[in-house]
């Protein structure tokens, strides 16, 4: 038998779950954006380990 009774507590839990979900999603977006900016600001890096390689800068020049 399915339990269908809706209690006030279920609404409160839903609000909490949706709220926490949205906050976590925003946090992921923020951290991703920050990572992109930080890695790009390093200059000439290689994608597999994101380490600056001065020899690449010399090649580009």
């Amino acid at each position: 038998m399915a339990i269908k009774a809706e209690h006030e507590i279920h609404r409160r839990r839903l609000s909490r779950n949706v709220g926490v979900g949205l906050v976590l999603a925003a946090f992921v977006v923020l951290m991703f954006g920050l990572s992109v900016v930080k890695i790009k600001s390093l200059g000439a890096t290689q994608g597999f380990d994101h380490v600056v390689r001065p020899e690449m800068i010399e090649t580009a020049q």
Binding site: R13, S15, R16, G19, L30
Partner: protein, 310 residues
């Protein structure tokens, strides 16, 4: 069993209760002043780094708010203004508030160090420690100067914003700190003059309770007089400008005249008109800080887009 279940249900918090735990109104002031500190600094910051830093500063402020509510739950329950906060109202358990406060403190400081620099993160950590431990745990229940020294916690955000941009602290940042630091006592004491009864009931040693209302009026005037040169001095530094100086002149004249009015009155006169001058001074104090920091921002925009104006 039934009783246990009912108790559990009543204690369960909604999302809004957790938001309330982070003191969103205090957080909005922190965000505003930290953002101004960051934007008026002479070093440009990437918008994503700036946004992230402001978010982490706000989370750190929220964490210290949660720790404050955890520690002060007993006196919050007694005071009318704070009795509906999540912990005294029974919607968030004290342990939960402590866990949230500690976790968010660590998270915000670590992430600010990664997003900006170690100095900004160190200042944020010190601010959280100052508000949660020095102010909430040591000073608030011990000395009537609690507001004065505790005000330092609220004065740090623009310095942190400045440190995010420049990686250092300079005279401009120190004067922004001093502006909020000197503004806090007259702001809170004006409130304490007309919010009588609340602090007495909770046993918090506010100046109005320990030294009387006459002394509080004297203190309001003294701090306001000391605030004026700080506010005007900030206008003479590199981040000041015509908008700031004009705003500072007008707002300091208003604040000082309000403080003199409050100083000249006694309790009989105040009770006769329902604390009108005290309420007016409190209202002016709210506009005072907002106007000063908005003016700093306006001058920074003018410097950036209208070269040669200043």
């Amino acid at each position: 069993m039934t009783d246990t279940n009912v108790t559990t249900f009543e204690r369960e918090a909604g999302f809004g209760d957790y938001v309330a735990l982070l003191k969103p109104r205090v957080m909005s002031l922190v965000v505003f002043t930290a953002l101004v500190g960051l934007l008026v600094a002479p070093v440009a910051v990437h918008p994503v780094v700036a946004l992230s830093s402001i978010v982490f500063i706000a989370v750190g402020a929220g964490a210290s708010g949660a720790l404050n509510m955890w520690w002060d739950a007993d006196i919050d329950a007694v005071m009318r203004r704070t009795s509906r906060r999540p912990i005294p109202a029974g919607r968030v358990a004290p342990d939960e508030a402590l866990a949230i406060g500690v976790a968010l403190s660590g998270l915000s400081v670590t992430l600010l160090a990664l997003a900006a620099n170690l100095l900004a993160a160190g200042l944020l950590a010190f601010t959280i420690f100052f508000y949660a431990v020095v102010y909430s745990m040591w000073l608030k229940r011990w000395t009537p100067q609690n507001i004065v020294i505790g005000g330092a916690a609220g004065a740090f955000p623009p310095v942190i914003g400045w440190a995010v941009a420049t990686g250092g602290v300079s005279v401009e940042a120190v004067l922004m700190f001093a502006l909020i630091f000197m503004w806090t006592p007259p702001h809170f004491w004006a409130l304490a003059l007309f919010m009588r009864g609340d602090y007495d009931a909770a046993g918090v040693p506010m100046l109005t309770v320990t030294h009387g209302r006459r002394v509080t009026r004297n203190h309001i005037l003294a701090y306001t007089v000391l605030l004026v040169p700080v506010a005007l001095g900030l206008g003479l530094t590199g981040i000041g400008g015509p908008v700031y100086l004009a705003t500072a002149l007008v707002m300091n004249a208003l604040f000082l005249s309000g403080a003199v009015t409050v100083w000249r009155r006694d309790e009989t006169a105040a009770e006769a008109d329902g604390y009108r001058a005290e309420k007016r001074l409190f209202r002016v104090s709210l506009y005072y800080l907002f106007a000063h920091f908005s003016a700093l921002l306006a001058d920074a925009v003018l410097r950036a887009y209208v070269p040669g104006l200043w």
